[in-house]
Amino acid sequence: MNFKNFSFGKYSNRWLTGAAAVAVVFGMTANLQTVQAQKIVTVVLSEEPEGLDGCNANRSTVGRVAKQNIVETLTAIDPKDGAITPRLATSWTKMSENTWRFELRKGVSFHDGAPFNAETAAKAISRTMDSKLDCETRTKSFGDIKLTTKVVGSHTLDISVNKPAPILPTRMGVVSLSSPNTPLDKLVLNPIGTGPYKFDKWTPGQEIILTRFDGYWGKKPVVEGARYIWRSESTVRAAMVKVGEADIAPNIAVQDATDPTMDFSYPNSETTRLRIDVTRPPLNDKRVRLALNYAFDRDALRGSILSKDIEHATQIVVPSINGHNPALKVRAYDPAKARKLIAEAKAAGVPVDKEIVIIGRTNIYPNGTEAMEAMMAMFQSVGLNVKLRMMEVGSWLKYLTKPYDANRGAILLQAQHDNNNGDAVFSIFNKYACGGAQSSTCDKPMDALISKAATQSGVQRRDAWREVNRIIYEDLAADVWMYHMVGYSRVGSRINFTPSISTNSELHLEEMTFK
């Protein structure tokens, strides 16, 4: 080759033709990879599940694959109103303060052929509650609550609790039941349940495959199987549904939800707030706490750095949860009132100039850092000495959970809480009771009310939780309330599926149909 005479020009046509041919071949191949014309649904998740054991199905990464698809619960929680509905149990009766009797569904079998009855259900519950396994269902939803079971008949099971259990049927909505042949001493990657889909294959790092279980006790679902894949980037997940490589992306960022024909917003049961450390000056003065609330322009963040669909919050639970108090009104943005309250506190000797630190957590929700920066500026503008410190989750957790550092200063902790389990008990004790692991308040009369509410049922229970929420909001002003958040899902054009509050942690394949 003589480089002195080298020219790209004379080769350009050939190059362009070649490039076009390659592009066409690639394009055809890529299209062949799409999931069209099959009754298999492809779901693109944000991360690979850590495992798939049924006893961890309360974890959203596991639950979106396994819960009510592979493994089922005795009861289920209706996402619309938090009502308890039958699943593997057909009915339940309160036998005493501590014991409930569950009548189990007949004619049900596990995917490995084992029969579902009172004995196998008892074994599955016992495995979940065994401390050897660190099951998330136990560590998250039961804590110091101990369950014991007694087989009364072939399909009749008594479940007892070590303390009064007025909402045990609600609690059983989080306990997924696995086959009696599941190892008792270790978590499994191949769950065996009674659900409409059975686990087929897991290629680590790449995909999980479920296939329809022909022996399912319920209505035969339309979707024949599911393929779960994962991409960390929301833009990629949204793009995959857009081009037909996937059918559903249950969780995409607000900035990627740009196609109104495919994108759905849904309340995701998450509530955001700044938890005020009410024990440290100047935050131990209610006037300063109220000033923080009045200084926060909630409408400024909505529709700008946060989604336009979020709703102002006044309490830790969303409206569909038992105990939500609809009477609480949002404190309107009023910086003049905030300044007045701070001046009054200062006149009373409160050290309002003392530094207050917002402890934020990176990636707690999209644009969470920007939200904290904006709130810091709002608090500073009314004369408070507020700084922001963002932390990764490991360091942030030290501020969230007791025991707290005795030398800590005045802290506002960026927090987000998820409760789609039907009742305020799953939120209130931990966050506000004197003994709550993440509580910064300790109000004795309220503590007594929390204990009482936990033992009540029906309207009395609802009203007791409402009163607790009122005390937290009006009497204590223990938080800077932010928003009930929303999530976004992208659903492909060939699928009928409407995301709901449960999409945050579960994705029921049986609810999907094809257009």
Partner: protein
């Protein structure tokens, strides 16, 4: 040669032990991982019980003694996060990283040699200016942005390529192009500069005077002499890639060791971090030995030393 290799292996072994020690204690300085494994709402008692069961409440020295005992029995630890042996996870992910690094670097080096040589042949010419601009842009473009833009353009708008994932050759195009940009851009600059020096040297003038063809002058005589600096830079860039192409692995969903390592660090999955560092370090040591051997092959002066 055997002595040379023996010395390098010995040095690498000592460095590896030092690295494992450093990683073992440094990751534990980041704190107790109990809070990250348990749900946020777990009670204090549950946290204490968990930390005790998995030895997180012991001192780092005690944990190290347990680690040594386990290693002596061939056990490099178990990933609580993934519920699998840590080394199994790493060895499963590493081939993906090696494939990405191998293809990207091979193509980058080959293209950079051709482009850099042509650019150096006529410095200041049209090709030289275009290639310099393109290589500078490639070397400085943020790969995350390139990756996302590539997906939106070629997968979503034109529908020529798949967005992401692992599969046939079409799945390789975008990740490899993104991975190649920086090494290619840097190496074009290095090849050009080295070739400029080589092409103006006395032996090239002598070769021309003797009537040797231009392509032989460039690719046989000049390139061999310019090769040492190219190998040095290529080796350094390859080390970066076999550490894990985190951005590409994350954006395109390639299950490589880079993403595994980052996730493990964030989740404080100590055994997986240790296993990943160990395997990566061994790969880098091997690569450095290969680079040394290439030096020896290319430069007789080093051979004689």
């Amino acid at each position: 040669m055997a002595k040379f290799l023996g010395t390098r292996v010995l040095h690498s072994g000592i460095a590896l032990i030092g690295l494992i020690l450093a990683v073992f204690f440094l990751v534990r300085l980041t704190g107790d991982p109990t809070d990250l494994y348990l749900p946020i709402d777990a009670s204090l008692e549950t946290r204490k019980e968990f930390a005790h069961k998995h030895g997180f409440d012991r001192s780092a020295v005690e944990q190290f003694l347990v680690f040594l005992k386990d290693v002596s029995q061939g056990d490099l630890g178990y990933s609580l996060r993934k519920q699998r042996p840590a080394m199994e996870l790493v060895l499963e992910a590493y081939p993906t990283t090696l494939r990405l690094a191998g293809v990207a670097m091979t193509l980058s080096i080959a293209l950079a040699i051709v482009v850099g040589s042509i650019a150096a042949y006529r410095p200041g010419g049209v090709f030289d200016r275009i290639s310099s601009m393109a290589s500078l842009a490639g070397a400085s473009a943020p790969d995350f942005w390139i990756a996302i833009t590539g997906i939106l353009l070629f997968a979503v708008t034109f529908r020529w390529l798949p967005t992401s994932g692992v599969g046939g050759i079409e799945y390789w195009v975008l990740p490899i192009v993104v991975l190649m940009l920086r090494p290619f851009g840097l190496m074009v600059q290095v090849v050009r500069a080295s070739m400029l020096g080589a092409l103006s040297s006395a032996y090239v003038k002598t070769a021309r005077a003797k009537g040797v063809g231009e392509s032989a002058i460039i690719f046989v005589h000049a390139l061999r002499n310019a090769g040492l600096s190219v190998i040095t830079v290529a080796g350094d860039l390859t080390v970066g890639l076999i550490n894990g192409a985190v951005i590409v692995e994350t954006v395109f969903g390639w299950p490589g060791v880079g993403k595994l390592m980052i996730d493990s660090v964030i989740q404080r999955d100590f055994p997986t971090v240790q296993a990943a560092v160990m395997v990566t370090a061994m790969a880098i040591f091997l690569l450095n030995i290969v680079i040394d051997l290439l030096y020896v092959a290319l430069d007789p002066r080093i051979r004689h030393q």
